[in-house]
């Protein structure tokens, strides 16, 4: 009992003197009730232990009066106190002297509680408050559990009687029980969580305002950074270590300065507010030791006015609390989805709508992203990850990063900081000479180091440097740009430069006659324009046109180059660098094309210098995401140069060339050109660069796309590309794997290559990759496995590795593209596996799953699933199962589609499904026949063939014949033999039916 009372029970913090008070909380209430139950009826159950005399009396200030006690051998004592007759060593076992009550046995304790009747809880509470460790009084010091109260060595020499031992055991049991009980409660509510804080602050914020009569507070806000960490905390991470959740600033009406409150996991307490010495920082230390478990209690204690108004708010509060509960539920749900809890009220109001939207947006986003060629690796130089493909998504991440890092940059200031500050002072308050001295000295610092970069910004250097660009002093401009060029490698500096309008000025400088200046401006723009807003600014201020005009320089290959010409070439190079950065935005690509960039780039592509070629090819590969550029790259004859540079010795240049080919080879003509210029050989040679992952990703991507043309496939065969690709199937990053598997999938369309993949041992690796999670990779892997499964020998391996089960489980993937390609891959598996029917049946729930995919909205998924069902239905037993799963009405519902690809496979599936029970009649009943007949009007021969097959099956049912007779006669005249045969068979059936009918009539 002592343990429970000291650790579990909630005592008020004011533990002065005699001891604290037990707060009225649910936990305490439960504790008291359990103790009560234990004491009541104790002497009934264990009379001997009940009579055991305590070592020391338990005494407390009671609320009971003497008159309430009656009988039980009590008598009035001389000094007016009520005592019992039984005594031990002259001490009465029960004594009530004025308000002090002492008892010496549990029996008497029980009696007291009986007497108190409905007030027994209060009495027990008073007793426990006065005796923090009742066990000590009962049994002696030896059994004390409260450490603070332990002050005696006597406890070791006391003797133990049998009754004592019994009672002790009982008490220990009770203690245990109490502890267990409370832990359950405590763990659920005692510690503060960010959600609880959020809830309480929101609640109070709703009740705040200027009105002194109605509003409980003037205002309440979070203090400091508005950034909310993923765990819901707002405090900086190093403070989170101390348990801080966030800081709150609240101003009651009657308190002069706002109260600064720390919300800690242990509760709310005041902090000392903003540190006067370090602006923006809090002094985290505590002015007093009071900790409160909720904010309202704290505010009540600190502001009488608040306490007064909050009591009037009862009703409103209650209502709000209810609303809040709902909010918390939502927040909890959001958490599971990985969303944050930092939402505003309105957002909650629209939550349903929004959630739905978000969900959609998410899937759309996935759709958009996943099939893009995987080029993430190439992004080392000016490319930021994924920027080129999904700008909007990276934008917010960049922003976040900038905010976070600003927060932690304020630690200790290094010595460079002060030196830089001094130099910037010269920049601000000096003439040209002092400015030049300062600029030259600034360049002596390590400008690649973040501390220096940020120091320049923090002492206001960026503003001065950018202002210098607006002056007439060429030397100052050059000096300033040389610094800006270096420090703009930092993402935060980039943003600041853009914010201060630096881009506009630099765009202006691009027209300056001084070529050094032009170069520097272009190079700096190349660094700054790495985020979307900057790129837009450059475009909107006419920068693209000017940058493109920089590309126009003297012929590059002239034998005699003067210094002036060299400088022109350098200007062109810098222009290309800037365009490379700018070309990550779609609109900039268009603007570049309008400004005539393509022929100029084509000219520069002939340059023999790598440092010119890299930005040029970089720009081209960036722009090649646009079909118009791809066409231009082909027609301007740039493929030849790209192929030539594939053989360069510079890996970066090779990489950009390969990724340009990767993107351009979407078109057949380009693929042919790559082959004609001998580009396939260097691509395959690049596969040996196993250590350079970016290069590998680009090269494998180019091979993937080039392999779409059968002529290229045969060249790849000659170059033994398969072996090299298979070797890359393991231990590679996903960016490479996606492309490698994509290439294998394309190559495997040629039958000899399928065998080659098997012989090189690629199949186990491919099947292994089916367990991955990368969507783009899964799409490619399923395709590749599907191609391999076309060959029976491969199928044996796939089957042995349980590949079909893996494919089947991918049907459960969220991504329709994965679903579709998995379903396509299943088709050849079923065709070529031994005991395919048995295998399919062994997948528990598999058939139900595939039938349920007929509800998909995606045409490709539907077509693939129909094709798979057509194959599954070859096995009669499986056909029976899918019929039970309702395949017939689902197929019938799809017949209204206008998509030829779906029609073909749907008709095929219907044809196969007719072979069971009364499915033919069922198809007729579900209205599938009429639309099917319409398929015959389609222009696609494949649709005709499978439709005729379906109609042939359906025509075995007389009802169906009536619907279909007419159009079939025309189909018999078709050139396709298959189609002729099926149509003829159909009509044959109809005729036979008619004959049978006739016969029946006359029989």
């Amino acid at each position: 009992m002592g343990q429970a009372l000291s650790s579990a029970a909630q005592w008020t913090s004011a533990q002065d003197g005699s001891g604290g008070k037990l707060e009225l909380t649910p936990i305490n209430e439960e504790l008291l009730n359990s103790i009560l139950k234990f004491v009541e009826g104790f002497s009934g159950k264990y009379p001997e232990e009940g009579k055991l005399i305590f070592k020391k009396p338990l005494s407390w200030e009671t609320m009971l009066t003497a008159s309430q006690f009656s009988g039980g051998g009590l008598k009035q004592d001389a000094d007016g106190s009520l005592v019992s007759e039984e005594k031990k060593d002259d001490v009465p076992l029960f004594k009530l002297k004025r308000q002090t009550l002492s008892i010496m046995s549990l029996e008497h304790g029980e009696m007291v509680l009986r007497t108190a009747s409905e007030k027994k809880i209060t009495e027990l509470r008073l007793c426990l408050e006065a005796n923090r460790d009742p066990v000590v009084n009962m049994l002696g010091e030896r059994f004390g559990t409260v450490q603070g109260d332990d002050n005696s060595i006597l406890r070791y020499i006391e003797e133990i009687t049998k009754e004592m031992e019994h009672l002790r055991l009982k008490l220990v049991g009770l203690d245990q029980q109490l502890l267990n009980q409370s832990i359950m409660k405590i763990s659920s509510q005692v510690r503060l969580t960010p959600e609880m804080v959020e809830k309480e602050v929101m609640l109070l914020r709703d009740l705040s305002g200027d009105d002194e009569e109605k509003c409980v507070l003037e205002y309440i806000n979070y203090y400091g950074e508005s950034f909310v960490y993923k765990n819901g905390c707002r405090a900086q991470p190093w403070r989170q270590l101390h348990g801080d959740i966030c800081y709150i600033e609240a101003k009651p009406h009657d308190v002069g300065n706002p109260l600064h409150v720390t919300a800690n996991t242990s509760g709310y307490y005041l902090n000392k507010g903003p540190d006067p010495e370090k602006p923006g920082h809090l002094d985290y230390s505590r002015p007093d030791q009071d900790t409160y478990r909720d904010l309202v209690t704290l505010l009540k204690a600190k502001s009488p006015k608040f306490a007064e108004i909050i009591n009037q708010q009862e009703f409103a509060l209650h209502e709000d609390a209810k609303k809040d509960e709902r909010r918390m539920e939502v927040a909890a749900d959001d958490d599971q989805d990985g969303g944050g809890t930092n939402r505003t009220e309105q957002q909650y109001a629209q939550r349903d709508q929004q959630d739905e939207k978000e969900g959609k947006a998410k899937t759309q986003h996935q759709n958009k992203k996943k099939m893009e060629p995987s080029l993430r690796h190439k992004s080392k130089t000016p490319v930021e990850p994924q920027d080129s493909f999904s700008e909007s998504s990276t934008e917010s991440e960049e922003e976040e990063e900038a905010v976070e890092r600003r927060a932690e940059a304020n630690a200790d200031l290094p010595s460079e900081y002060w030196q830089i500050q001094k130099l910037v002072k010269y920049l601000k308050g000096g003439n040209q000479t002092a400015t030049i001295i300062a600029l030259c000295s600034l360049r002596d610092f390590n400008l690649a180091q973040e501390t220096c970069q940020l120091a320049i910004r923090d002492v206001g250097g960026l503003e001065v440097l950018i202002n210098l660009l607006d002056t007439e002093e060429v030397k100052c401009k050059i000096g300033a740009l040389k610094i800006l060029k270096e420090i703009s490698r930092n993402t935060q500096i980039r943003r600041s430069i853009a914010d201060l309008g630096g881009l506009q000025t630099m765009v202006k400088i691009l027209r300056d006659p001084d070529k050094d200046l032009k170069c520097l401006a272009a190079e700096t723009i190349a660094n700054v324009a790495k985020f979307r807003r900057a790129r837009r600014t450059v475009r909107q201020h006419g920068g693209i046109k000017r940058l493109v005009s920089l590309l126009d320089c003297v012929p590059l290959n002239s034998t005699h180059m003067t210094a002036e010409m060299e400088l022109d070439v350098e200007v062109a190079r810098c222009g290309a660098l800037a365009l490379w950065s700018c070309s990550k935005s779609k609109k900039n690509k268009e603007a570049m094309q309008r400004a005539g960039a393509i022929p100029l780039l084509a000219k520069l592509l002939k340059s023999p210098h790598e440092d010119m070629l890299i930005p040029v090819v970089g720009t081209l590969q960036e722009c090649a995401s646009e079909p118009s550029y791809r066409l231009a790259i082909r027609t301007e004859g740039m493929i030849e140069d790209l192929v030539k540079n594939l053989k360069s010795s510079n890996p970066e240049l090779q990489m950009h060339c390969a990724s340009a080919i990767f993107k351009c080879a979407e078109e057949k003509e380009t693929r042919d050109l790559v082959r004609q210029y001998g580009g396939l050989d260097p691509l395959v040679a690049l596969l040996k660069q196993v250590d350079n992952k970016e290069l590998l990703a680009a090269a494998t991507g180019a091979i993937w796309k080039c392999a779409i043309s059968p002529e290229n496939v045969s060249r790849f065969q000659e170059l033994k590309a398969i072996e090299l690709l298979v070797a890359l199937l393991s231990n590679q990053p996903e960016e490479v794997l996606v492309n490698v598997v994509g290439a294998l999938g394309e190559l495997a369309k040629a039958p000899p290559n399928r065998a080659q993949i098997r012989k090189s041992g690629g199949i186990p690796n491919l099947v292994n990759l089916l367990t991955g999670t990368n969507q783009a990779l899964l799409v490619n892997v399923t395709k590749a496995v599907g191609q391999c499964a076309e060959e029976p020998d491969n199928m044996t391996i796939i089957d042995r590795l349980d590949g079909v089960r893996l494919l089947w489980s991918l049907l459960k993937n969220q991504n329709p593209e994965v679903q579709a390609s998995a379903a396509w891959a299943i088709c050849p598996c079923i065709e070529n596996a031994k005991d395919a029917g048995e295998m399919v049946r062994s997948f528990v729930g598999g058939l139900e799953l595939i039938v349920s995919l007929l509800k998909s909205d995606d045409k490709e998924v539907l077509a693939a699933v129909c094709a798979a069902i057509a194959n599954i239905a070859k096995d009669e037993e499986n056909l029976a199962v899918i019929t039970d799963h309702g395949v017939v009405p689902m197929l019938a519902r799809l017949t209204l589609t206008g998509d030829d690809r779906l029609r073909q496979h749907l008709a095929e599936a219907i044809a196969r499904c007719c072979n069971w029970g009364n499915n033919r009649t069922a198809f007729g009943r579900e209205g599938a026949v009429a639309p099917l007949v319409k398929y015959l009007k389609s222009k696609d021969e494949n649709v005709h063939r499978s439709t005729a097959r379906a109609l042939f099956q359906l025509s075995k049912n007389p009802e169906n014949c009536i619907t279909m007779h007419e159009p079939l006669l025309k189909m018999v005249g078709s050139k396709d033999e298959d189609l002729q045969e099926s149509s003829a068979g159909c009509i044959g059936n109809i005729r036979r039916l008619a004959l049978a009918n006739e016969r029946a009539k006359y029989a």
Binding site: K422, G430, Q432, T433, A434, I437, L439, S441, D444, I478
Partner: protein, 207 residues
Amino acid sequence: MTSKRKTQEQFIQNLMKHSKNDPDRPCRFTYKEITALLKLFAEFSGGNKQRLERTQFRDELCDRFQITDDFLMDRIFRAFDKGSKGYLRAEDFVCGMSTLIVGELEDKMKYTFQVYDLNSDGFISREEMFHLLKATLVKQSTEEDPDEGVKELVETALKKLDMDHDGRVSYNDFRTAVLSETLMLEFLGQCLPTEDTRKAFLSQLRE
């Protein structure tokens, strides 16, 4: 008249021939440009073909080259004035202008060093730098010692220039520093015309 023209012709021929071999005072103008310059010299000196006085020189070039600092203007005059005569002769003027208008980097480095080396001892000392830089900072009334900022600036500049760390700047120090960063050519004060005024002046000569 003819004899006058003849002497001028001979003067120019001499000048061009001599200066080719003179690394200290090269003249890189063409014949035609020199003719125009001599005309200008006559104009500046108010008809006196032999002497161009300090004040006349300063007044004419201040505007043209936008060099506003009187002290530096005086230093430029001294750099032009070979032999410290206190006035410029025609050849002083032509050779000096050659450096300013069509000089190569080496010429200019020599010239600027000469301008900055106030006592012509071959070194630029801290004191000389202080003198050159004392007007470069905007005076801030609140500061305790207005010279303090300049002293710090001198140290900053010295750190950039003093390659051999002997506390003063020799011509070699200066040359090495400028070659590593041409922005440092006019490190201690402007003593060359700006690019715009230089071009304007040159095209005027070539008219």
